[in-house]
């Protein structure tokens, strides 16, 4: 394997991110477009159709451009930072485009808001909607962790006294460690266990989300958000299992069961399953589950005009709301209510953990 392959992979990753972002405008409900709550009939407005196309094609075009640079000039861009740097540049550019479109849609909305005073109705149904999942799914990641631990312990006596614990992309070991229980099982203990715990925790948190997306259809909204939560809980467990399988396969490489040359394939292949899975689910259920929503007599016009609670259509700030997690407005998934103190704690942890890992990895 040559360095060329690395550039191809980097370029492919960039293209894939571009492809993922290109479908976002079509995942979001017709009554919330680019973070703006709209009367549903505006969805097929010529300008809005155009804006969705602009966002989609821009996301692909820019990622293709950056991918080309990475592919042709990868050798002159300094080291391993190139992909992270490119992704960052790409996401910032897409954010700027998003914000530009967001404020354009706000303008379009003003021209459509002709009748009556601004409404602010919230509604839900008091009847419980079942959002439970099979509790066994939360055990699955731990079962995977247990299997990896068991295999590691079983193989332990037969492992050589020193073994490689880091490989470059060519599959050549560039760091070695002496055999201890901790070093042999380090990836499962330090990545597998926290990731399983985190994703289980997220799945449980996600199941409790309930904010109604369209108060003109309280019943349909409640059913759809519950379905959305359930699907995402399964998705999170699926991701945990993928992470566990990557750990298992890389451990097998480390334990010299799988040839070193395959290290890139065994890490990339499972990881590549995640994006299509999320995309298929996102396109099927839609953000907040709106694609599965029943029209329970809703008029389709805006009864809740809560744009002021969403800064730029991305950041939710509502001191009146006790919820911590709410469905996102633009994109797929959930976001934090930044008016809730716990959200800041979560936010700090989300920022600190990768920084800590980065510092740890670079330091070591």
């Amino acid at each position: 394997m040559s360095a060329e392959i690395l550039y191809i992979i980097d370029a492919a990753v960039l293209l894939m991110i571009g492809f993922v972002l290109s479908v976002v405008p079509y995942i979001n409900p017709p009554f919330i477009q680019f973070g703006v709550r709209l009367p549903e009939e505006v969805y097929s407005n010529r300008k809005l159709v155009m804006l969705r196309r602009i966002y989609s094609s821009a996301s692909i075009a820019i990622s293709a451009f950056l991918a080309a640079i990475e592919y042709f000039f990868g050798s002159v861009i300094p080291g391993y930072l190139s992909l992270i740097g490119f992704v960052l540049i790409y996401l910032i550019l897409m954010l700027v485009i998003y914000l530009k479109i967001h404020y354009t849609v706000m303008k379009i909305k003003r021209t459509f808001k002709s009748t009556g005073t601004p409404n602010d109705i919230v509604a839900t149904t008091l009847t419980d909607v079942d959002s439970s999942v099979n509790p066994l799914i939360f055990v699955l990641p731990w079962a995977a962790v247990a299997i990896i631990l068991a295999v590691g312990l079983y193989l332990y006596p037969s492992l050589p006294s020193t073994f490689p614990d880091h490989f470059n992309a060519q599959g050549v070991a560039n760091s070695f460690e002496s055999k201890t229980l901790l070093s042999v099982l380090s990836s499962v203990l330090f990545i597998g266990v926290p990731v399983s715990a985190l994703l289980d925790f997220l799945a449980i948190a996600v199941l409790r989300v309930g904010q109604i997306q369209d108060p003109s259809r309280p019943i349909g909204s409640k059913l759809s958000i519950k379905r959305f939560n359930r699907v995402n809980a399964y998705l999170l467990v699926f991701i945990a299992l993928i992470v566990d399988s990557i750990i298992f396969l890389t451990s097998l490489v480390m334990w010299q069961i799988i040839p070193r040359g395959l290290v890139l394939i065994v890490t990339l292949l499972p990881a590549l399953c995640i994006i299509p899975a999320v995309m298929i689910v996102a396109l099927k259920v839609g953000q907040g589950g709106w694609r599965t929503m029943a029209r329970d007599g809703g008029s389709g016009k805006i009864v809740r005009d809560d744009d002021r609670l969403w800064k730029g259509g991305i950041i939710y700030y509502n001191p009146e709301d006790s919820s911590i997690l709410v469905p996102k407005r633009f994109g797929y998934g959930y976001t934090l209510n930044m008016a809730h103190p716990v959200s800041w704690l979560v936010f700090v942890i989300i920022v600190l953990v990768p920084v800590a890992i980065f510092v740890f990895v670079v330091g070591v």
């Binding site: 005073t117 601004p118 409404n119 602010d120 109705i121 919230v122 509604a123 839900t124 149904t125 008091l126 009847t127 419980d128 909607v129 409790r208 989300v209 309930g210 904010q211 109604i212 108060p215 309280p218 019943i219 349909g220 409640k222 059913l223 709106w290 694609r291 599965t292 929503m293 029943a294 029209r295 329970d296 007599g297 809560d306 509502n318 009146e320 709301d321 006790s322 919820s323 709410v326």
Partner: protein
């Protein structure tokens, strides 16, 4: 066995399935029993609106004795409001005996509306609340309002007789 004669009137007609037809009809119908709607721009406090909504649902037979309500955290999460607001509404209704908390901490409907003080007086209080608030904001004094009311009572009673 009982036949629910009001079923059609309750949630018939208006339930149309949209977007995708993979929603089971009975899901929608079951969930359609008690819809609670709050107007955030209404001058009446939100907890009063919740109390009123629940009373109206019981009055209209959409919620029956023994039906359970979501926890205040759950309900506030769905409505995007503070859970203390929902709690306050529940406390009023529990205090009046319309709701009760059972062993499993579930909140259920304990009594019909006609048997409770809020049921008898509260519904009317709440209906009048909004009007009085409008009168106050229009600059009427307490005595003005009382005068208007008492003269109206006279007129209405006369007409009624």
């Amino acid at each position: 066995m009982s036949i629910d004669v009001n079923a059609k009137e309750r949630h018939g007609g208006e339930m149309k399935l949209g977007y995708h037809n993979d929603v089971k009809n009975h899901d929608v119908e079951n969930a359609g029993r008690g819809v609670i709607t709050l107007d955030l721009n209404d001058p009446r406090p939100l907890y009063m609106q919740i109390v009123e909504s629940i009373l109206r649902l019981i009055e209209n037979n959409r919620m029956k004795l023994g039906d359970s309500l979501p926890s205040s955290r759950k309900l506030s999460g769905e409505l995007g409001i503070n859970y203390h607001t929902v709690n306050r509404a529940y406390e009023i209704l529990i205090h009046d005996g319309i709701l009760q908390i059972d062993r499993k901490k579930r909140i259920t409907i304990a009594r019909g509306i006609s048997e409770s003080a809020i049921g008898r007086i509260g519904m009317w209080k709440m209906k009048i609340w909004g009007m009085i608030e409008e009168m106050i904001s229009a600059g009427f004094s307490k005595t003005d309002i009382l005068m208007v009311l008492s003269s109206l009572i006279g007129d209405v009673a006369e007409g009624y007789n």
